[in-house]
Symmetry: C2
Subunit: 328 residues, 2 copies
DNA sequence: GCTAAATATGTAAACGGTTACACATAATAT
DNA sequence: ATATTATGTGTAACCGTTTACATATTTAGC
């Protein structure tokens, strides 16, 4: 790898001049510029980011912590982040936290050690203190806290909406599958849905499940044994909903005639289920992009009008819920 | 952030001594060690990786390039890589290439500028020259080339196997959905399947599709218009298979009685389809982990017995193919 | 008790950039 | 013609580490 010194020698100027030409800072004669650029070209010189980062005390790196990219909801967000940042020349250091505090701390530490200019994290509420005394900007993604800027979606409306959908379409024996209560957004939508259901005069049962395929399958199997009369299911996410759907079909229950089902997230493959899954859509990609945008503003010390950006969710009507008119 | 100088001052020693204690290199008196470690503790000192990386000309960073983490096959691999590397203190700089040469080059450049110690990449065959004259180790993942170490799966057997499955279970009008031919592994399995089919006395039709949901849906719709007599489909990946499955169900065709369908990859959600999708499994997580393992060996200059690691694929028998006995 | 080897620690030069500062020259104003 | 300002370029310090080298002190060997 050619260094700035090689270029300087090749061009017959000092390193300072090369640096100035490369960065377009300070003065440099037109002719000198040409000579320098020719040398740069010839040696295929690319400035070493590490050296630059050391002096400036900031890199072009941004840390991203997500719970688990194996859950299709997060890659979507990650791409939103990446695609936006990429345009500004930022690169991502990435880590999965598995919602574990120590992994999170480990990543934060190494991010800092690498002079990242900012961080985006989907972190568990409890551990936010990890981000507290950082001198670099942090944006929370899919999570919230008072003290930190955040981009997230309207879980409350989402939960309400899911409940409303089933209610409006005539379900009266509803099972609400609650995800892990430690995960704030998941808990919020659960609470919102529960409230909405309790206000209606319907039967409500709550079941617990993890957010994973295995968890969903276990839950779904139990569900029909415990509550065979169920005619509506609100799942904590699409994966669990898919598991429920599979169980429904396996049991020969007609959907949406006998039972309605609604998921959460609108991850890509829900549209590929049969019947296609009705769900509450979170704009994952957009959330990622917005978080990136907010972070860059922070980095550039721009005025920020809203530090807490709540993106709207929407009901994606597919075929596991009935048409609104045709209540059975 | 505390620097080594702060620690040195606090401990009343020189920076060299602090460095030696931190790295366990050279001599250091037991008492001195204690004093230094106390200062480290007190100031919560973490060595700056950037400075270290500058001097050593190598970081603890590894570059990872994948085509698109939005395709669930890749996050699985990414986690394999990450989980393995994480144990050795390496961190990932990550980029999606979208199979585009210029994005790939851009990432490679910035990886290099950040002194990564190695790279893992799923790169398109044509652009391998990008990696040619690098002085750091590179491991190809899910792709192959003569010159570079690689971890991939046995596409040929996979393609053959998929064909064999449908053949053995009695399909005679088979549509083979071919993915983008530029993507080597996808092309290889296609060719292998085609060969196997052509040797048998069955009708074979080839259709093209992208690897995405949209592409799959378009292809599936056309499929039954063009070839209504189809009784077997080999899809280029699970996503396309899921699209085909949906179309099959929509048309009320019985599966696996009237038509058999087999996917490729065994991404998580295939098990959640109804009926669950039969597919050829690539051990994505394992592939990622093996690539990481190989890379670390390279980095440590260890002897490497096999530079090209081909992992086996397997047939995952679920319910879109018939039992072998029960040919209709 | 003297020499050689082992232990302990500090000084300063790297690593590859950026930039404050000094200095020289050219352009402009008076 | 002289003072002032703008332009152009180089020198060297700095960012936070590591490490070669020098030096001082122990310890061991005989």
């Amino acid at each position: 790898m050619a260094t700035i010194r090689d270029v300087a020698k090749e061009a017959g100027v000092s390193v300072a001049t090369v640096s100035r030409v490369m960065n377009g800072s300070g003065y440099a004669h037109e002719d000198t510029k040409k000579v320098v650029m020719a040398a740069v070209e010839k040696l295929n010189y690319k400035p070493n980011e590490v050296a630059r980062s050391l002096y400036k005390r900031k890199s072009k790196l941004i840390g991203l912590i997500l719970p688990d990219i194996t859950n299709p909801f997060f890659p979507e967000m990650a791409r939103g982040v990446e695609d936006y940042l990429q345009k500004f020349g930022y690169r991502l250091i990435f880590g999965n936290s598995d919602e574990k505090r120590d992994k999170e701390i480990e990543y934060i530490d190494t991010f800092l050690q690498n002079n990242v200019v900012g961080m985006i994290a989907s972190t568990s509420e409890e551990t936010n203190e990890n981000f507290d005394n950082l001198e670099i900007p942090v944006v929370l993604l899919d999570r919230t806290a008072e003290e930190l800027p955040a981009v997230y979606s309207d879980q409350k409306t989402g939960g309400k909406l899911a409940a409303r959908v089933l209610l409006d379409r005539g379900s009266t024996n509803i099972v609400l599958i609650r995800g892990p209560v430690e995960i704030k957004p998941v808990y919020e939508r659960y609470i919102a849905a529960l409230e909405e259901l309790e206000q209606a005069e319907v039967n409500v049962q709550v079941m617990d499940s993890s957010l994973t395929l295995q968890g969903g399958q276990i839950c779904a199997r139990q569900l029909f044994e415990q509550y065979p009369e169920t005619d509506g299911i609100i799942a904590c996410n699409d994966i669990v909903a898919a598991a429920a759907l599979q169980e429904i079909l396996k049991r020969g229950i007609r959907i949406p005639e006998d039972i309605q089902l609604i998921g959460y997230d609108d991850i890509a493959f829900t549209a590929l289920l049969h019947p296609p899954l009705s769900t509450i859509r979170q704009p994952a990609y957009e959330m990622g992009a917005q978080a990136a945008k907010l972070l860059i503003k922070k980095i550039n010390q721009e005025k920020i009008e809203e530090t807490h950006k709540k993106l709207p969710v929407s009901f994606v009507e597919r075929q596991t819920t009935r048409r609104k008119a045709e209540k059975p």
